[in-house]
């Protein structure tokens, strides 16, 4: 599904140039659950952003589902992204002014799903995430675990092929964290590819494969049994 070759990304300020990704090459197959680990500043998030087409690489190739996307413009990337990729963040990133239902509905609005179909699909996914009873609440009225469920519901409502999770349990206690990991595992078992950035060895154990990064390069790959 994903094949990146010699990917490079630099950050420049006036005086210093930092290399975030240094000729990185990796592959992720459809249906995989991959964890990316590494110390702060090793380029995990940069990689995830590029994989999610939120950012573009400076050099190298990125083939997504057989299409070279490394130098797509913002509009094309946005289009590809909204139909194929769901995001889960550490800080949930829900819109405070919208209710649970409206937050989950948002991706459907941007992909042009009809109103009646939207209601059906949002209710379905809220039900699955067991937060149906909270549908008219605002994010601030929910616990962290509940907020992350909403975020996951939003990520999957469009039935994406790929979910990118950036430390999804980072802001949660262990019991809520485990719940979230169970949810991701379920999704993966139903066929969704998942790439997750994490600091937690515990969470990484849910994955099939761990890619360890250091200074923008792959230093090790562990296959989980």
């Amino acid at each position: 599904m994903i094949k990146i070759t010699n990917l490079e990304k630099f950050y420049r300020t006036e005086e210093v140039e930092t290399i975030a990704l240094n000729k990185l090459t990796m592959e992720v197959n459809t249906g995989e659950f991959v964890a990316i680990m590494g110390p702060s500043g090793c380029g995990k998030s940069t990689l995830l952003n590029i994989l999610g087409m939120l950012d573009d690489p400076d050099e190298g190739s990125y083939v997504f589902n057989g299409i070279e996307v490394a130098h797509f413009n913002e509009r094309k990337r946005a289009d590809l992204r909204k139909h194929n990729i769901g995001f889960v963040f550490q800080s949930f990133n829900l819109i405070d002014e919208l209710t649970v239902f409206e937050n989950v509905e948002l991706p459907l609005i941007y992909t042009g799903v009809t109103a009646s179909e939207r209601v059906k699909r949002v209710e379905e996914v809220l039900d699955k995430m067991q937060i149906m009873h909270r549908r008219n609440h605002y994010p601030q009225q929910l616990s962290g675990g509940q907020q992350q469920r909403v975020a996951i519901a939003r990520a999957v409502v469009n039935k994406p092929k790929l979910i990118l999770a950036d430390e999804p349990t980072g802001n949660l206690d262990s019991s809520n964290g485990n719940d979230v990991m169970e949810l991701l595992t379920d999704l993966n078992e139903q066929g969704t590819t998942i790439i997750m950035v994490t600091h937690s060895e515990h969470d990484a154990r849910y994955s099939h494969r761990i890619i360890r990064l250091l200074d923008g390069q792959t230093v090790m790959e562990n296959i989980m049994v």
Partner: protein
């Protein structure tokens, strides 16, 4: 999708009520101010544009050289009208119009009402519709009168006025042959009735055939297809053809230009009210722009709060275009709310604005085009004010905002700085202009008039006043209410007559020099407290030969080049006039112009007005009561009318006063809107820097130090704005002052005062938030991280 946008807009507005209020209030005040100005402009532009024949209507103008300069004026000889109709096949209709005021008597009702004499064509040339009567015949016979609806009501109540009789000046009887719809507010004409020109001729003992007497306005309606250029080549010599006056060209001034283009310089149209209109239109645009800038500033200042939303929307699939649409939609929605509020503000402030501008403007709620304009106005405002925030917000990179590394650039980042500077630049220009207009007004108002205005009163000589003048004068003096009386041709504040038909020894025969003319009988200098510099006042009782005596003013002595003016002979119409005195220059006409050369004739001339000086030992009320009794005794049929010279003189400043008040009003509003924006920005700045303030305080910064630090950034912007506004304000006000011969010099103090005022206002605005931020407990602010 739109439902989603509206929902989030509404919730955002409700969540930040303070900012919503500032934003909407600023925008509403800006929109209301701009709309009021545009109403005024629209009204000015609509003057006399409602006549069905407006493209064929013209006023006759004269053009001639005086003192080497080409002058144009719109009073014309009375016989011109007949010649237009008889000799020029291009002219379809023509009419003269001249003013007057008569005592109307109907039953017990007695009223002095101003009206006009005119020719019968007037009613069909212009679109002043008759509610009753036939416009083709209503003024055809000498004893017909056409009343406006208002006057008909005044005289006859709700009865049908048609066919009723009115006694005029206790001598003549008129039959009402027409009732006219009241004149609209946007016309140059101002009368409450029309009398036939034939009655004017009766009063003035026959037809005036003098082509040298330019004393009436003449209007012409051209036949369809006749162009202005063509008729002007035909009409140019009309005065030459009919008289031995060889130096006057005649031309036609079209109705479409009467109101806005009525100033002539060297024989060509050189603007007029259009200049004021342009100026105020610019002000309107700027005020609206400033309100929009406020909106932009506040929206972008809040960007940090919106950034997360932008990031999330982008991540879940929003394109930049859809975000731009969302934010523009948001600002248009706010513009709609502000627009509704603006309509309320306009409706509430129209009465005051109408008083100020002497207009009758109103909101045309029933007019579809009006609502179309309102709609486009709101859309325009929403688009303009939303454009920058929309582009700014939609350009956020989701990677940054969602990782929390996003920090909206410092609250005073560049584009916003430019916006604040623009706002204050305009506000300061307006402040400086206001101060200069007021100074110029003060300067002109305090100019020495040359005579004493206080307690000086005049009454028009109506009915039997002229006949009983000697008796009235004696009784006024013996009553003790009055200390001096004189008859004059016109009120002291108005020049009614001028002539260039004077000759004297040593005059350059090629020079055409126009003199103001004024007629007085005895006691002129005593009544007016006017200084006689040489010779003496005219005094027919002591000097019987004074029937041919004249006074001249200083300006006349200078232009006539007399070393010793007393005893010099001035010839007019083969009459020999002798200069017996030189009076100090006094202001008859414009207080902004140099005093013009003037010849004051003695008792053989014509008179219209009695001036009298009230006795300052009594109260004004006592004096007026006694004076009224005298006039009632000798002129019982007429209501006693009187005018204080003080009041009349102050009317000369009305237009400047109006400009001054409007300028200060709009300067105030601009400052208000700008300060709303500044206040909002300061609030956000204080919030954004709350951690920095906390750290500084923990490290020992004082409240004053923090306040100064926070205010300094804004004051720097105001300073830059000031630097830009000085040359612009100087340039405009210098140009404005050049209109006046008698004018102030722009002093440095004006700029200093403006700088001080603006700084003070901005310090007050900003320091409120700055002090609040500085006083906050640092423990709290640091914990909030």
């Amino acid at each position: 999708m739109f439902k989603n946008y509206i929902k989030i807009t509404w919730r955002n507005l409700m969540k930040n009520k303070g900012f919503t209020a500032i934003n909407i209030a600023g925008l509403a005040v800006g929109m209301a101010s701009a709309a009021l100005i545009l109403f005024w402009v629209q009204n000015e532009a609509s003057y006399d544009q409602f006549h069905a024949n407006k493209n064929r209507l013209y006023q006759m103008y004269n053009k001639s050289v005086f003192d080497g300069k080409l002058w144009c004026w719109g009073t014309t000889p009375k016989p011109m009208m007949k010649s237009l109709k008889q000799d020029y096949p291009q002219v379809e209709q023509a009419a003269r119009i001249s003013g007057g005021a008569f005592l109307f008597t109907v039953g017990d009702k007695r009223l002095t009402i101003p009206g006009n004499f005119t020719d019968p064509d007037f009613l069909t040339m212009f679109s002043f519709p008759l509610i009753k009567g036939d416009p083709k015949t209503a003024l055809n016979s000498m004893n017909n009168i056409v009343l406006t609806e208002k006057t008909a009501k005044k005289l006859f109540g709700n009865d049908n006025a048609m066919g009723k009789t009115i006694k005029i000046d206790s001598v003549d009887y008129f039959t009402v042959t027409g009732v006219m719809k009241d004149l609209p507010n946007n016309t140059r004409f101002d009368f409450e009735y029309l009398l036939p020109w034939s009655y004017w001729e009766k009063l003035n003992k026959g037809e005036d055939k003098n082509w040298g007497n330019n004393s009436t306005n003449t209007y012409a309606l051209l036949k369809p297809g006749v162009t202005e250029g063509y008729i002007n080549t035909r009409i140019k010599n009309i005065t030459r053809t009919h008289s031995d006056i060889k130096d006057i060209d005649v031309f036609m001034h079209p109705a479409t230009k009467w109101r806005l283009y009525s100033k002539f310089e060297n024989g060509k149209i050189a603007g007029g009210r259009i200049d004021t209109i342009k100026l105020f239109s610019i002000i309107a645009v700027f005020i609206l722009l400033i309100a929009c800038i406020n909106f932009m500033n506040l929206s972008t200042a809040r960007s940090e709060k919106r950034a997360k939303e932008v990031g999330i929307r982008k991540v879940v699939g929003a394109s930049k275009g859809s975000l731009i649409t969302q934010f523009l939609g948001e600002s248009i929605m706010i513009a709609f709310i502000a627009g509704a509020l603006a309509l309320v503000i306009i409706q509430l402030s129209l009465p005051a604005f109408n008083t100020l501008t002497e207009k009758q403007l109103f909101i045309p709620f029933n007019s579809a085009p009006f609502w179309m304009i309102v709609l486009s106005f709101i859309l325009f405002t929403g688009m303009v004010s939303g454009s920058y925030p929309a582009l700014y917000l939609s350009s956020f990179a989701p990677v940054k905002v969602l990782k929390g590394t996003f920090k909206a650039a410092n609250a005073t980042f560049s584009p916003r700085k430019i916006l604040v500077v623009t706002q204050f630049w305009f506000a300061i220009v307006l402040i400086i202009s206001t101060i200069i207009v007021k100074q110029q007004l003060d300067y002109a108002q305090n100019r020495d008039t040359g005579y004493k205005k206080d307690n000086l009163v005049y009454t028009f000589m109506s009915g039997n006043i002229e006949k009983n003048y000697a008796l009235i004068r004696n009784e006024l003096i013996t009553s003790g209410a009055v200390t001096a009386v004189t008859k004059t041709s016109a009120p002291m504040t108005e020049g009614w007559s001028d002539s260039w038909d004077f000759n004297w020894q040593g005059k350059d025969q090629n020079a055409k020099i126009d003199f103001n003319m004024f007629n007085v009988d005895g006691d002129f200098s005593k009544t007016m407290n006017l200084k006689i510099l040489k010779g003496r006042d005219i005094d027919i009782k002591t000097y019987p030969s004074d029937s041919s005596a004249i006074l001249v003013n200083e300006a006349a002595v200078k232009i006539m080049n007399f070393k010793d003016p007393i005893g010099q002979i001035v010839i007019r119409d083969s009459h020999k006039l002798v200069i017996v005195g030189v009076v100090k220059d006094f202001i008859l006409q414009s207080p902004y112009e140099p005093v013009k050369q003037m010849i004051i004739q003695g008792p053989s001339a014509w008179f219209n007005v009695i001036h009298y000086k009230l006795n300052d030992k009594n109260t004004t009320a006592q004096n007026l009561k006694l004076v009224e009794a005298v006039f009632k005794k000798f002129n019982p049929d007429y209501p006693f009318d009187y005018h204080f010279i003080d009041d009349e003189y102050s009317k000369k400043f009305a237009s400047e006063q109006q400009i001054g008040t409007l300028a200060s009003l709009f300067a105030g509003l601009t400052i208000f809107i700008s300060c709303l924006g500044l206040f909002g920005l300061a609030t956000y700045m204080a919030q954004n820097r709350i951690k920095e303030i906390g750290v500084r305080k923990v490290l020992g910064a004082s409240v004053l130090g923090v306040t100064t630090m926070l205010s300094k950034d804004f004051l720097k912007l105001v300073g830059i704005a000031f630097a830009f506004s000085v040359p612009v304000a100087w340039y405009f006000m210098h140009g404005w002052l050049m209109k006046y011969s008698y004018r102030i010099e722009i002093s440095v103090w004006v700029f200093a005062i403006a700088a001080f005022l603006t700084t003070l206002i901005s310090i007050i605005t900003v320091s409120f938030q700055a002090v609040k931020a500085a006083l906050a407990n640092p423990v709290k602010s640091l914990r909030s991280e």
